[in-house]
């Protein structure tokens, strides 16, 4: 049971690894961006795992709820809520850069782009 309580964090670490490996090992830029978004989601998962309280409920106070109702921690939720929207905007920016690279070089593979740069 104790180890299952840490499962969220282990998955967080594994997702970080997958995301980082995707960024480092793949030369395709779009693939790297997808890896980046996996990395990002791993961080979201870490924060949201922290907000859970046993027997709690979402931090929206119901009018008729008993006074001893336990609520989840609202603070990580606020941070991640904004981070998701910021994340999609920055991903869009990265994709825009990738599109411009494709137009300029005709490819989105980093190794080929480097070759072309060396030839110049």
């Amino acid at each position: 049971m104790e180890i299952l309580g840490l499962y969220n964090y282990v998955v967080f670490a594994v997702l970080l690894m997958v995301g980082l490996y995707c960024i480092l090992a793949r030369t395709n830029i779009v693939k790297s961006i997808i890896g980046l978004s996996i990395f990002q989601s791993a961080v979201f998962l870490l924060y949201i795992s922290m907000d859970k309280v046993d027997g709690g409920t979402a931090p929206i106070i119901q009018p008729g709820a008993p006074a001893d109702t336990i609520y989840a921690n609202p603070l990580p939720q606020v941070l991640i809520l904004t981070a998701i929207v910021v994340g999609i905007s920055t991903t869009a920016l990265a994709l825009a850069v990738a599109v411009r690279i494709k137009e300029a070089y005709g490819t989105i593979e980093e190794d080929k782009i480097q070759e072309m740069d060396r030839e110049l």
């Binding site: 929206i60 998701i84 910021v86 137009e103």
Partner: protein, 330 residues
């Protein structure tokens, strides 16, 4: 209960992430990352984060896939990375993973009520929100009022990202990838000849926009707020653009309008803060907005600020989508 659900969802998460990593086809990767974000949203909901789950749902399922597909259409579908020759990436990521796993072994288990995170400011927020702000949704209260400064910063980050996309994919016509007129004329840029999707989709657009407005103005009482609402409204417009073509969508929501929306939202947010200063309070201290009733002032401030956030997010999403879609036409 939570643990059982988490077990299923998190295992699927890892499976899908590894599959995304292994596939060579970028289209497959995008589809699988759609599944990834769906699992993530379900997981957020199980972990009692309703607002975050709603955000991830709208952004991940609705907008992210469309943006990635738009980018794939402009770049390439195939990942032609050479097979990995060196051990450096694997070693680096394993080292990172090892360190983090070692570190999290000391972390408090999931749902521990005595974890340090729950000791500091969180109880204060939960306790004082009914008294100081009187909004049922504590997340909205913290987002818009207690940490309003932070959210203002985030809105400006989104704003700047939008400017970046616009300047990258602006009006300049690309040189190399021009296609002949014949091929160009064959390109279909909408789904107008598909009768069933067109009818059903158009039928749903008003409901999506209406639901977006509901989420916007019900955000004080239930899950929701400006971020989710903006993305929902934008998703409605994007659906219209997919069905009727980008040109028509730009007649519906002209470009100047979405740009003005982006700027106006950020401006509204900041000017509410300035108005607070003018009325004798501190920046983004809404209590002074109504001299007779501090709580009413807070309500007014949150309403205005959330409206600003909604406008900016909707404008940014629509603008980014148009930028990608128009690039595809030329």
């Amino acid at each position: 209960m939570t643990i059982v659900f988490s077990l299923f969802l998190l295992s699927m998460l890892v499976l899908v992430a590894v599959a995304v990593l292994r596939t060579d086809n970028l289209f497959t990767a995008v589809m699988l990352s759609g599944v990834f974000s769906l699992i993530m949203a379900a997981n957020f909901f199980v972990l009692d984060a309703a607002d975050v789950a709603l955000t991830e749902a709208v952004i991940g399922a609705g907008i992210s896939t469309v943006l990635f597909l738009g980018a794939l259409a402009l770049t390439s579908e195939q990942d032609r990375s050479p097979p990995v020759g060196s051990w450096v990436p694997l070693l680096t990521s394993s080292a990172l993973g090892g360190v983090i796993i070692y570190a999290v072994m000391q972390a408090p288990r999931l749902g521990d009520p005595n974890a340090i995170v729950h000791m500091h400011v969180a109880p204060w927020y939960l306790e004082k929100t009914p008294e100081l702000i009187d909004v049922p949704n504590v997340v909205t209260a913290v987002l818009a009022s207690f940490r309003g400064y932070d959210t203002l910063g985030e809105v400006f980050v989104v704003f700047i990202a939008c400017i970046g996309v616009m300047s990258l994919l602006g009006r300049v016509r690309p040189r190399r990838e021009t296609i002949s007129e014949e091929t160009f004329s064959k390109q279909s840029r909408n789904l107008r000849h598909h009768l069933i999707p067109r009818v059903v989709g158009k039928m749903l657009i008003p409901f999506i926009v209406l639901f977006g407005l509901y989420v916007q103005f019900h955000g004080d009482f239930g899950p929701g707020g400006g971020f989710q609402a903006g993305a929902l409204v934008a998703a409605g417009i994007i659906l219209y653009a997919l069905l009727e073509g980008d040109t028509r969508a730009r007649q519906l929501v002209p470009e100047w309008f979405s740009s003005v929306l982006v700027a106006l939202g950020a401006f509204t947010y900041a000017s509410v803060g300035v108005a607070c200063m003018v009325m004798g309070g501190r920046f983004l201290d809404y209590s002074v907005l109504d001299p007779h009733d501090a709580i009413h002032g807070q309500h007014l401030g949150i309403l205005l600020v959330e409206a600003g956030v909604g406008m900016t997010v909707a404008g940014v999403m629509i603008t980014i989508f148009h930028a990608f879609a128009r690039r595809g036409i030329r």
